[in-house]
Structure formats: C-alpha cells, structure tokens
Symmetry: C2
Subunit: 479 residues, 2 copies
C-alpha cells in the first residue's frame, strides 16, 4: 500500500495530494463520492492529521474536492465541464441489496488490523504463522507436480481429495462415509452460507447456541431466518430446549458446535448427546454440526463428533483445515445426504464456479503425508502452551477482575469481566493501546464478556497484549 516518502524533497502533503488526485482521476473516487475522513487517511498513511488537512486544502484550491461542514469531503462534480454528465450514485448502490454488511465491531476490528500492523491480534480466530505447517506444505509443493490439468473442477470438488477425506473421517473422526457424500467447500463459512441460502427460506426458524459465533455472521439475518437461542452451560446445550423450541416455533434446523464450542470452549456432555439424538430423531429435525476444533484437543483422545453416533442420517457435518492446518488454504468439507450434496454443489457452481484445484491438491497431499499426524501433535502442544500463557497473564494483570472456564481445546478463551465497562469504549481504548479482542456481544451474549484468541498472536506477544488490555480496562473503570 502506498505511503508518502519521508526522504523525498517534495513535502509530504504534496505527495499525498498528488496521490489522492491520481486515485480520483483513475475512478477509485468518482465525482460526488465521499473521501475517507482526515482521521482515517492519517491512520492509513501513517502521518499526522495536519498533513492530511494540508493535502485536502491543496486539492480544494484546485477545485478537485469540496468540503461541507458535517457531510465530509467529496470529489467535485463541477470540475467536469458544462456537459451534463452524471456518475452513477455508487454509494446508493453500495447501500442496496438484501445482503447485510458485517457487524460494526467486526468491521472495526478488521479495519484496525489492516491499518496498524503493530497491533497485537487476540481477535482473529486462526493459527499464527508458526503453528501452520508452512514448511511441510512448501516441501510437498516442491516434491509434487500440482498442475496436471487446470480446468474447471468437479462441482463436488477434487475427487482424490474427497477419497482421502473418506479415510481421514474414518480414522480421525469416527465417521463412515463415501466420496459421493462429500462436498468440498472453501471452508466452514461457505458451508454455512450454502446451507442458509439454499436449504432454508426467509421466515424459517432455526435454533442456535447462545452464545455462538453464528451471531457474528450476518448471513443468518441476510437469509431472513428467525433465530432462537439454546443457552450453553458448562456441559453444552440442553436437548429438552430443542424440543420446546420445536413445539413453540417449529424450528427447521439446529446449528451446533459440540466440541470446544466457539466462543465458550464447552464440550457437549456425553449423556446430552444421546438425549439430543433421540429428540431430533423423534422430531425428524436436522442438525448442522460444525466441527472445526476437535483435533486441537490438548490432551487425550479428541472428542468424536455427534455425526459419529448418527445412525439415521439426521446430521450435516462440517469440517475444515482452517483451524488445524492453515486457514489460507481455504479448504473445508461437508458430509451430507446425496440430495443435499447435489443441490449445494449446483448452487455453489452458480456462486463461484467451484474451487481452484491447486489448494485441493495441496490439502490432499498433506492429509496423506507423514507430516500430518506429527503436525497435529505439535499443534496441540503449542496451543496448550499459548492457552497457559494467556491465562497466566490474565491472572497476573487482572486478578479477581476476570472469570473464565479453562478450555481443553480450541483457539479461544471466553472471559467474563467483573468491572462494568462500555464494550465499544473498551475496544477503542484497546486499539489505541495496541491490542484487539472481540467483544462478547458479537456472539450474542450480554455486555461484559470478551473472547480472546490465543492462537493467532506470536507466543511472545501474548503477555504484552494482555497487559495492554488490562491497562485499557483499568483506565476506563477508574474514570
């Protein structure tokens, strides 16, 4: 991304004015469109706000931009001569469509992470670079030829990968399936998107854990679904609540993350699993089971998915490489009955014409390589270490001010804050001090909760991140 050259003889404000003039003349900001605010541009370009103000003055004097009090700075429409030429009202188009934008908190976090590379990231639900098997994948890519034929792929995904997943699912997840029951997706997000868009209709009621990462995904609302809550206690959801939601609201689907639930880290109790399967088979109700974290279990045998107990075909199972190998591969999968796989493969063709073969080939090679099992072992050990780092720092920096249950797998710690504090102010203060986390309200909970991800930040940054968070919290609660 362009930044002004501090060594240049040309003053920075002039460089910035020239840069903005180019972006305007190239159509990034067409006539009449709103420019980013002075504050935001200063943040992006790494300069003082006063430098941006000078650059804006320059452009204003050239008639390129106009400012009106209270409505920001816009590209002039008059500069384009006397002919009545009209640029489309792009901002109205951008606000259109039935598809909702991401939640403001999520957009703010992403914006902050894009603009300030020095932020300590306790927000993004993914592995840090050193936890991903980058070296192993590079080795495999140089050992194998990956590009035998680069045409459009099979709508269900690359066949050899689906075949390898049949063995993987049997060995690691206790699931017996067939290659024709598998749909390769670009990750759990796409699996959920396909299900909410193609199997449910606007107005349908569905049940979702409370709290749940599902609330952070506006796709449920974009699809017009009515969401009903299944409270999660330390043993997961209560199956009888599923029955009562069915009776009251005729829910059509249940979305669950039974192993190391996001954000709480909870594992659904064994007895409740049996009970749950009885309830849904009695009601003929489908479950969508998202299972991204099981293999991160820090100790012992990872918990099996509900799907491994599903004898009558009540469950659509969703898995992915994102949390156990590399989110950047963008390879996930879904196991579902034939009619569902066929329908969703057809819909996916229409959305993106399928996935690139290359990452699928890489994923298949990695899955059957001798690197996979040792990678998992090392990942589990390192995640546990990072979890302990986070917990130790929190206990040190905020004794008696936070409450949490220690998770035995996954990437997250779900925390209750004892002092009362405004979520938005806490997030802004933390960003100002150089750390990001996700406010719990994003996951549908009440105010006063936060989700910390310990997987994403390098290990040696966790303590500093927590200390910045603690300063933010203490600073705000002292006021």
């Amino acid at each position: 991304m362009w930044k002004p050259d501090r060594q240049s003889k040309k003053p920075m404000y002039e460089q910035i004015a020239d840069h903005l003039e180019q972006r305007i003349s190239y159509g990034e900001f067409p006539p009449g469109s709103l420019l980013p605010s002075e504050r935001k541009l200063a943040e992006q370009l790494g300069v003082n706000r006063s430098t941006v103000i000078l650059a804006f003055d320059e452009l204003r004097s050239l008639g390129i931009i106009e400012s009106r009090t209270g409505s920001g700075t816009r590209v002039s429409t008059t500069k384009w001569g006397v002919t009545p030429k009209h640029t489309p009202n792009w901002s109205r188009y951008a606000e259109g469509g039935s598809f909702l934008p991401n939640l403001p908190f999520m957009r703010r976090i992403r914006e902050a992470l894009t603009q300030t590379t020095s932020l300590i990231d306790l927000a993004s639900g993914e592995l840090s670079g050193d936890l991903a098997p980058t070296h192993e994948i590079t080795m495999l890519m140089s050992e194998h030829q990956y590009t035998s034929y680069l045409g459009y792929d099979n709508p269900q995904g690359y066949l050899p990968l689906r075949e390898d997943l049949v063995s993987y699912l049997e060995k690691y997840r206790g699931i017996h399936t067939t290659e024709s029951s598998i749909l390769i997706t670009s990750g759990s997000q796409q699996s959920l998107f396909l299900i909410t868009q193609c199997l449910l209709s606007p107005g349908d009621a569905v049940a979702i854990e409370d709290p749940s990462y599902c609330y952070s995904l506006p796709m449920f609302q974009s699809a017009g679904l009515r969401l009903f809550r299944l409270p999660v206690d330390e043993h997961g959801i209560n199956p009888e609540e599923v029955r009562s939601l069915y009776k009251k609201h005729h829910i059509k689907m249940v979305f669950l993350n039974p192993n190391f639930q996001n954000p709480t880290g909870t594992v659904l109790d064994k007895e409740r699993r049996e009970q749950l399967l009885n309830v849904v088979s009695e009601l003929g109700l489908p479950i969508v089971e998202d299972d991204p974290f099981s293999l991160t279990a820090y100790e012992g045998t990872p918990p099996l998915p509900l799907k491994s107990m599903d004898t009558i075909g009540s469950i659509i199972y969703i898995g992915s490489f994102s949390k156990i190998a590399a989110s950047g591969l963008r390879v996930g999968w879904m196991v579902a009955p034939h009619s569902i796989v066929t329908r969703l493969a057809d819909a996916r063709q229409q959305m993106d014409f399928g996935l690139s073969v290359i990452p699928q080939q890489v994923a298949a090679q990695f899955l059957k390589s001798s690197y996979f099992a040792p990678h998992l072992d090392s990942l589990r050990m390192q995640l546990r270490f990072k979890r302990d780092q986070l917990i130790e720092s929190l206990r040190k920096e905020l004794p008696n001010l936070v409450q949490f249950t220690i998770p035995n797998g996954g990437l997250h710690l779900w925390c209750r804050l004892i002092p009362e504090v405004h979520d938005g102010k806490l997030l802004e203060e933390a960003i100002r001090r150089g750390v990001v986390f996700v406010p719990g309200r994003v996951y549908g909970s009440d105010s006063g909760f936060v989700r910390f991800t310990f997987a994403r930040a390098p290990t040696d940054e966790i303590a500093t991140g927590v200390s910045r968070f603690a300063e933010s919290l203490l600073g705000l609660t002292k006021e």
Copy 2:
C-alpha cells in the same frame, strides 16, 4: 468413482448391491430417500440396466429398499426397528431456499460430461489442457516459494497480485487504476454473483444483451431481478435501446460483454461505444462490463474495453484468467469505485472468507513472468486454428444447413440451424452419439440456435464431434 470389478468371481450385481448397501448405511441415502434410477445407475457404473435390476432385487429381498410403481426406488424406513425414529425430510430441504437451481439443459450437460468421459465436449466454455499454460505454471511453482504465510487473506485479495494487475490493466487493457480499486474474485461468475446479490434489490430492473450467457445464470432470477433485453446485431447492442429501457422500466444497471460477446462473438462497434457512454453518463446509469475474451483476438491488436474510455466512473469492469490462462486457477478481478469494492469485499468475506493465497500467488508470478506474452500469442494462434477446424467441419458435414458469422476472437461459434428440430431431442441424440453442445435457448434466444465451443475439445476431436452432431441433426430431421 467406484465401478464393479469385472475380473472378480463375485457376480457384478452382488458387488453393486453391496456397494449400494454401504452407501445407504453410511447415510448418503438416508431412510426414505430416493435412489438414482436404474437407467442412471447403469450409466454411472458402466453396466447393463439388467445388472442394476438384479442388484435392486437383492436389496429389496433384504428389506433395505422398496419400490413403488411410478415413484421410483426408496430406502426403507421400516428397517430401523419399532422406535419411532424419523430422518429429516432431506429432499424437501433440498427443494427449499430462494436460490434457484441451474437450468435443466445445463444440469443435463454437466451430468453427461461427468458420467461419460468419452463425450466430445463442444459445450464447456473453457480452454483444453494443451491450451492452458500448464507447463509454465508448473515451472513457476517449482521455482518459487508460495507459502510464506498461510493465514486468511486481505478481504480485497492478495496485495502483490492487485499491484501486478494495475500494470497488467494499463499495459494490456488501457485501464488506469489503483490497487485499492481492485477486488480479486474467484472468477467472473463470483464478480457477477456479488454484484447481483449486493448492489441490486429484488424487483430492480436491469438490461442484458439478447442473446447473452447471462440468461444461462439463474443468479439473476434468484436475486429477483427483472431482466430486459438489448438485442445484439452484428455490431453489438443499440445504445438508444438503453435509453428507452431506462425511460420505460427505469433500469438500474446494464450488463454488457462488448468484446467477442458470449455467445455471438460480436464486437461492439466503435461509434456505438461513444454513443453508449454518452447515454449512460446522461442518465447516471452504471454499466457492468465483462471482458473475458479480448486477449484471445486472433489477429491484430485486441479491442480495448469500454472501461478504457470511461472518464467519469460509470463502469464496473470484470476480468479473469479463466479464458486466457486456466479456469482451474479460479482467479478473476473487478475494478470499481472504492465504495463498491469495500461493500463487495465485506460481503464476500461472509460468503467464503476470501480466496486461497496459493493460486493468487501463482497468478501473480505468471502475469509478470516472461511466459505470459508468448503464451498469449500461442493461444491466439491455436484458437484460430481450432475455430477454422470447426468451421471447415461444419461446412463439410452440414452444407447449407447451418449459418454463422465467423468470430475474430473468443472460444465460441454461434450457429443458426436451418432444419427445424426440437432442442431437447437434439441434445439427447447428440449425447447418445457422443458429443455435447449448448442449445441456444440457454442464452435466451429462440429455438434453432446452438453454441459450439471449439476451445475445449482437443483439436483432433473437433471433426468427429461435428460429424456426430451432424448425424444427430440429420437423423432427427429425416424422421
């Protein structure tokens, strides 16, 4: 895909029965669900229908499946004991959702291509393996390290690729732009999906060329758009028709493919381009310009896009590697104003959480490598040769029975058939004889047109493909 073992001592019908029983017990076909028809299974497994009938008899005698006249063969629901267990009614879920399935002709073509590998493919709009720069890409992949960090990518796409595209667009397409105006997508299909889902609302009117590949994409109907036609003559659309559609129906967007239009191969006339830009700038109307084929121009300088003449920002420009390098990379791009790129990047995050970095890195390397320009030259020469093969074969096999305008770029030939024939019957007969094409009605035209793709089939299969098509046509019209 599983096939019965013809060398085995076990009779084929028993192998098939065992195979189906496994797929049923693993949940691919849950209790109550419909099995594929005997005809379809026989086609898939490469056996006689009588063998499938024997296998079904076997499963029926075991109580695993049930057949009822007229309603096909279903998995038994009674086998599961006396407890009242209900599998969700998956087929009803599969029929739900507001997202329309692909057109029946398109599904039939894809099914035929998946099941019968010996079909000659004059239908798929992509390059054959030998036209794709497979060797060059393999070389680049072994020369470069591709996996520095495998985390989630920037929502707008891999920054170095966007930077390389800025130079590419300037050099090859006469477009001046900035990296922050570019959104990387998985191809034109995803660009169009994002635009129709996020910038337009149900009930909005849009203008589309007639014929156009857009009619083959149910996404326009799924988004609830009202489609109005802009007839294409040998010089493209008539700009005054845009004005009259705007006055009559208040169209909100115009979708165009001005260079080597799909399916007609037409290039929009120079004078009409100027006229069109005047009309839309007068009306403040946006154009979505899809430009996948320009660089395949068989002779001379490829025609520039409308976007290169767009001084006021009326155009969203869509490009892709699919038709000039490899569809299997799944890398495309969009150039649009800032507000649009930001909105669509946010929406795309929700749909699939962005693209894999690996194919984007490969695409960036290829684009700036010394392979790119020679690849384009060779591609243009070879496509021209294949076009000539197709035309020569058609003239030989169907003299005076087909009419077409010879295209100067692109992958397709648009043909009018002189004899009257039923589209569906012609397609089935052609599949039976071993060739597929796309009936013109898929592109919104009247009956009696077909689109032949000469790019996909190996050169030495084109003549045979045409001769099979000719036999199908002549056979049906003689009756």
